[in-house]
């Protein structure tokens, strides 16, 4: 009798450990690829300046857990830095990229007319509930600054990319949906940033 009771207790304990392991281990990891291209408006006039792009590690390899429970983690890898590089290379014929592995260190960009710096100001991944569906909502906000070689600020703007995907089902294609959701938001951000930076003609100040 005592043995049977002990067996039941052990079985319960093991089951509890199993459940605890299941709930903590069931985190989906979505790796965002860098091999997708953003479609930008064609036939845009190029900026007649030598541009330096200053990238530091603050926008590289960001790992973002979902809120509120963190059942999903998005690994941005180098998708932001690569897209920033591609975007700026479309803006001018002469682009020099300075990529740093540390944060808050000024770039050493000589022989350029202006330096463009992107800084991630906010990034969120929410799991929301709308009626009976789960909604995955991703938002990224990046501040783009342009300074001339003398350190004078010529242009600043913050662009937001946001995309919601539903119905989000973690166990049925959740990883792919998370990737798509993040990619669309990132694409949206870069399109807005390109249009915003190119339409204001801030470079007329730098040419004077």
């Amino acid at each position: 009798m005592a043995i049977i009771r002990m067996r039941i207790s052990i079985a319960r304990l093991l089951f509890l450990v199993f459940l605890a392991a299941m709930t903590s281990a069931c985190t989906i990891h979505a790796n965002i690829p860098n091999n997708y291209d953003v479609t930008y408006p064609k036939d845009t006039e190029k900026i007649p300046l030598r541009i330096g792009l200053c990238l530091d590690s603050s926008i590289d390899n960001i790992d973002l857990p979902s809120t509120p429970r963190g059942g999903l983690v998005v690994h941005m890898n180098d998708s932001l830095t690569r897209n920033a590089e591609l975007m700026v290379k479309r803006m001018s014929n002469i682009v020099i990229v300075d990529k740093r592995n540390v944060t808050n260190m000024p770039c050493d960009l000589k022989s350029v007319d202006v330096i463009i710096t992107p800084v991630v100001t906010s990034m969120r991944l929410h799991l929301l509930q709308e009626n009976f569906n789960q909604v995955l909502d991703f938002m990224i906000s990046i501040k783009w600054s342009v300074v001339d070689s003398g350190g004078k600020t010529l242009y600043v703007n913050t662009f937001i990319g946001q995309h919601s995907c539903e119905p989000y089902r973690p166990l049925f294609g959740g990883k792919e949906m998370a990737k798509e959701c993040v990619q669309r938001a990132v694409e949206g951000h870069f399109r807005k940033a390109y249009e915003g930076i190119m339409t204001t003609k801030w470079w007329s100040q730098a040419i004077k």
């Binding site: 319960r12 089951f15 459940l19 790992d63 429970r69 906010s122 990034m123 204001t200 801030w202």
Partner: protein, 252 residues
């Protein structure tokens, strides 16, 4: 007879195990996912509806402090004043024919007991903050969610080791307790989301353009809006690099 009783006991334990397992899975899958709420979008020109404004060299700055509880509930879904935040809707209109201006949130300040800068409190630091270089998370929410996870584990454990007869009695109480906790987290996420989505962002404003958004200042519930409270702002002319200073009293 003894074997029969043992079998029954084992069978009963299995039912309890199954109930607890279902409970834990249901709670962990659906537990604290917030319901999407849509707050009122703030459209329209701020300068048309507020007297608190000042114009200097074709640049107009208008401010609209949100202090009324109803207004705050409508805009953010929470009384931010009681949380120590004063949201001020700020609008800049550039009516100059050729000049561009750089508007930076850090160059706005409020004079309460002492002069406090807008950079002292931002959605990035309250409640959303940059925890470390590569990890942008809502700390308050994560903390709340972690607390909830501990509570859930403790409750599941209590259910697990409770005598089978007590499980049906304990279950409703546990569900009620967890739901109230989930609601706390949901509200926290949604409020912080509505705060940060409407935040004023730094940008250059070109001729004919306008820009608006909320700037959040520290404000204790004991503070009141009176004539001594002023919003101070310095805005930079991009070409000449000179600053234009604004000072608007929050009560006329």
């Amino acid at each position: 007879m003894k074997v029969m009783r043992l079998r029954l006991l084992t069978h009963y334990s299995s039912i309890t195990l199954l109930a607890v397992a279902l409970f834990v899975i249901a709670m962990s899958a659906q537990g604290c996912i917030p319901e999407v709420r849509h707050y009122e979008e703030l459209t329209g020109r701020v300068c048309d509806r507020t007297e608190l404004q000042e114009s200097i060299s074709d640049l107009r700055l208008c401010v609209d402090p949100f202090v009324e509880t109803d207004k705050l509930e409508q805009a953010f879904g929470a009384d931010l004043i009681s949380a120590g935040i004063l949201p001020v809707l700020v609008s800049i209109e550039n009516r100059h024919s050729s000049k561009a201006f750089l508007i930076e949130k850090m160059r706005f300040a409020i004079s309460t007991n002492k002069l406090e800068s807008a950079s002292d409190i931002q959605p990035d630091s309250y409640p959303i903050q940059r925890r470390k270089d590569h990890d942008y998370v809502n700390c308050e929410v994560i903390k709340g969610a972690n607390d909830m996870f501990a509570e859930k584990t403790a409750m599941a454990g209590a259910l697990f080791f409770a005598p089978p007869i007590a499980v049906p009695l304990l279950l409703p109480a546990v569900v009620v307790l967890l739901n109230s906790g989930d609601q706390r987290i949901n509200d926290s996420i949604l409020v912080s989301e509505s705060i940060s989505r409407r935040e004023f962002v730094d940008r250059t404003v070109y001729p004919g353009e306008s820009h608006q958004g909320f700037i959040y200042f520290p404000f204790t519930p004991k503070d009141t809006i009176d004539a001594s409270k002023t919003i101070k702002a310095t805005i930079r002319d991009v070409q000449s690099e000179q600053y234009i200073s604004f000072e608007i009293k929050l009560k006329k």
